[in-house]
Symmetry: C2
Subunit: 204 residues, 2 copies
Amino acid sequence: MAKAQSEGKPSTRERLVETARQLFLARGFEATSVADILREARVNSGSLYYFFKTKEELLLAVLDLYVEKLHPWVLDPIFEREPDPIARVFAVLEGYRQMLSMTECRQGCPIGNLALEMSDRSEAVRERIALNFDNWRKAIRQCLLDAGDRLPSEVDADKLATFILTVMEGGVMQARAFRSAEPFDASVAMLRDYVGQLVKRAGE
Amino acid sequence: MAKAQSEGKPSTRERLVETARQLFLARGFEATSVADILREARVNSGSLYYFFKTKEELLLAVLDLYVEKLHPWVLDPIFEREPDPIARVFAVLEGYRQMLSMTECRQGCPIGNLALEMSDRSEAVRERIALNFDNWRKAIRQCLLDAGDRLPSEVDADKLATFILTVMEGGVMQARAFRSAEPFDASVAMLRDYVGQLVKRAGE
DNA sequence: GTCTATAACTCGATAGAC
DNA sequence: GTCTATCGAGTTATAGAC
């Protein structure tokens, strides 16, 4: 669908998608105007509408980019330095924690924002958001499966992965509302306790 | 601040706040226009701006209403029929589950939507959202304290209440994105397992 | 593919009569 | 307190030259 062209200076299309990605992340979809994107990307209106029929189509391209980049941008760097499958899960959560720190709790998960803003408004967008969550959940599930019998056999890896995503998103939401990482940290600490219990239960 | 007048037919001001509440819940703040609110409430522009200086002030009134109504609208009916403090917590979660069912997973927590959309855009709004979360968390914490020594003494009731809110919000988010209550149910089931473990730990 | 100019419309908010 | 009329800015998207 999208061109590769990951080398050399970015094309107009790439600049549009990347700029839109940043602005949608920082402000949301509605609060970002097409004019904002054009100014920031230094592209003219005609060019944008040459590549994308509507602003919503541009959002779809952004969501596709997130699916494509989850592994190279987010997971691969973490998994490279952390071989233990259970530690990997918490290292991923630590990554979101760092995003909160760096932005003074103004920026959390790029998908979560859009999920609540857009899920009801466009079915195409909702599907792409679900795809992003699916992608994330599957990666975490693989970590849990890699943990083998350190987790009890009756634990459903898919449901536990869903739970971990739930904790991440809910924690980020509260951190942003309180402008404090405390609720995120408290939630992750509880999750750690729970997973610790599960590991202990499996060892008995 | 706001008038009582909870009897008789609603005043113009009440109609505005209630209509705005419903529309902000269904569509979010940006996606709801002032014209939408006026049409739905059958109020003229001049009247709205007589009561509220800006659209944002109307949102603040909505958020104040939510703080005011958490107990009478949400908690009291549940607590009345469920005396057990730990069961109360899960009965509250069941209430949100019913909201998901009734709306085909289109509507979750009224505050969560606004938290992600508005936390960065207006400090006054963010503070009101934090107040709503605080209010909710305190009520749940009281349940946990009422459970007494059924929970281990080393468990911090405030942090566990934060965790429960995290699970609720994260579960609702995924349910909306997948248009399925499954992620919410899976998350609440895991939470139930965890709290069950804690109760067991306290009993040892 | 990119440019400028602008159409067609909606936005939040205001003025001033009643 | 409520009404109508409307302002001025900003919105997404398009037309047509280059």
